[in-house]
């Protein structure tokens, strides 16, 4: 099925630097429409950097980023949001002194999204009833799991075509981790394409269809998630089984 659906996101030989330090050394990957793809790898391998580059928060030194056939490499973040690419960043990055509802509404800030904001807000509340209960509460006072829901909700407000989730379960209680992955499983039924970054390799591979392994800024292995799950190298290096 995957190879039949068209490519949504295509990254070509992407190189990114933080000042003088180069982090990505020619990353190429693509995500098909309706797919849940994941990017796995250890700390500092370049996972978050890749997502930030796709969101436009980091400039590409070389390489190209396409959404469908349109090249986005030189576009600022707001142009990418307009094309319904949203990032749910590592560490949630909410506005602590704004209410839950204000945080969610900001997700639809781009002028084209405002007229659908109410409908999308209702949809997010339906997905995460706990956010509705706490809609007037300041985001900074939520629990970690609730903050993550709020960050995901914000990412869903523009009706995203591509939803990028960066470490959505980092630092959460086991029950909250299950809830978040359950959400990832459900969101694909709504036709949202997901690019997931996670250190929890076991979970990430179990809940995705296609996976890329990134090591020191390069993609070193890719394939259907089930195949990577049984790959001996992945098992030894990332799943801790000999």
């Amino acid at each position: 099925m995957n190879h039949l659906s068209p490519t949504l996101l295509r990254i070509q030989n992407l190189e990114v630097c933080y000042g003088p330090v180069q982090v990505l050394w020619g990353v190429s990957l693509s995500v098909n429409q309706g797919q849940v793809a994941c990017l796995i790898g250890s700390n500092g391998a370049g996972k978050t950097t890749t997502l930030n580059a796709v969101a436009g928060m980091l400039k590409a030194k070389a390489g190209k980023i396409f959404l469908k056939e349109e090249e986005l490499t030189a576009q600022p973040p707001r142009e990418r949001v307009k094309r319904r690419i949203t990032l749910v960043p590592e560490g949630r990055q909410l506005w602590p002194k704004m209410s839950v509802e204000e945080n969610l509404l900001m997700g639809a800030f781009s002028p084209g999204f405002r007229k659908n904001a109410d409908a999308n807000l209702a949809r997010v509340y339906e997905m995460f009833p706990r956010l509705k209960e706490r809609r007037t509460q300041l985001a900074g006072t939520l629990s970690g799991g609730e903050q993550q829901m709020c960050a995901i909700g914000r990412g869903l407000m523009p009706d995203p075509e591509l939803l990028m989730l960066d470490e959505p379960t980092l630092g959460l209680a086991p029950k909250a981790v299950d809830e978040i992955f359950e959400f990832v499983r459900n969101i694909r039924s709504q036709g949202v394409t997901v690019l997931l970054v996670a250190q929890n390799v076991n979970y990430a591979l179990e809940f995705s269809e296609y996976a890329y392994l990134i090591e020191t800024g390069k993609i070193t292995l890719e394939g259907p998630s089930a195949v990577l799950l049984s790959n001996q190298y992945v098992q030894e290096a990332y799943l801790g089984s000999a």
Binding site: P77, R78, T86, Q93, W95, P96, K97, M106, F109, S110
Partner: protein, 297 residues
């Protein structure tokens, strides 16, 4: 001190706090969004005072209304200054030397423009309202100060409503609280910062216009108020708008009641002493004190 004395001091402190809040809120918005300490704030307050004076003298416009009319003019001026100069400063998460120097230089330029256009004589806006009083029981309240206070409250209310209930206002708060998050949700930073800068300057002009009908002024006008604004902003915790209201009230109370113990000429010294004290004892402002109390509770 009799109860009547106490009450009238409380009333005058409250009335003073209103105008103090308006003159500080512009600096707070600019600092919050761009982390720039607007040293030129005093210069823009001076321009606002002269603008109100010109409107009053040439067109016989009521000085309070004139102060409000300076707002759009100063807003546009602020937007232009941002576009021409401030926009070129590199982005930073804390005040940088180039930003301080730029704003200080701008203040000097504005001041000297003031001397060039209006000369160095003291000017004042005098209307029948200037000396009139309203008597509430045994307490006499200056009509002008009361009107200025109400005008100040209206402005602060409008700003607060704008920040909370409009898309653009929310994006300003988003940029203040978490710049990264604001950018990934599509906030246009340059445009937002330009409008925020315009607002800050608009409020400086408005405050200058209101202060101009209370005090006499010359092109150096605003220096003493700039220091007070610093105290208020530091008390309020640098980037919160409700903090500004609290800071303004604290400063106004301290200044007003200090008259009992210290000659009025030393009022500015009180502001300075309070600034030093706050920086040493309570660097996070009143908000940090409240947060600490909440943790202990």
């Amino acid at each position: 001190m009799t109860l009547v004395d106490f009450t009238s001091l409380m009333v005058s402190a409250l009335l003073l706090a209103g105008i103090y809040a308006v003159m500080s809120v512009g600096m707070t918005v600019i600092y919050g969004v761009m982390k720039i300490v607007n040293l030129a704030h005093a210069g823009f307050m001076m321009l606002g005072a002269y603008l109100a004076l010109e409107l009053f003298e040439r067109f016989q416009i009521d000085p309070i209304l004139a102060a409000f009319l300076t707002f759009p003019v100063m807003f546009l001026l602020g937007g232009a200054v941002h576009w021409v100069l401030v926009r070129r400063l590199p982005h930073a998460d804390e005040p940088t030397l180039p930003s301080l120097l730029l704003m200080f230089g701008l203040w000097l330029v504005l001041q000297n423009l003031g001397y060039l256009i209006w000369g160095n004589t003291d000017r004042s806006i005098f209307t029948p309202r200037t000396l009139s009083v309203v008597n509430v029981g045994p307490i006499a309240i200056s009509t002008l100060r009361l009107v200025v206070f109400i005008a100040a409250l209206v402005c602060l209310g409008l700003l607060e409503a704008w920040l909370h209930y409009t898309w653009f206002g929310r994006s300003v708060r988003a940029l203040i609280q978490n710049r990264y998050a604001a950018l990934i949700t599509g906030v246009h930073e340059d445009r937002t910062a330009g409008i925020a800068f315009g607002l800050g300057i608009g409020f400086a002009g408005l405050a200058g216009g209101l202060l101009g009908s209370l005090y006499s002024f010359d092109p150096d006008f605003g220096r003493a108020f700039l220091i007070r604004a610093f105290v208020i902003i530091v008390l309020g915790g640098l980037d919160s708008i409700s903090g500004v209201a609290i800071g303004a009230l604290v400063l106004a109370l301290v200044e007003t009641f200090s008259i009992i113990f210290v000659p009025a000429g030393y009022q500015l010294a009180i502001s300075f002493a309070l600034l030093a004290l706050v920086l040493i004892v309570l660097p996070g402002g009143i908000a940090s004190l409240l947060a600490k109390a909440r943790r202990l509770a």
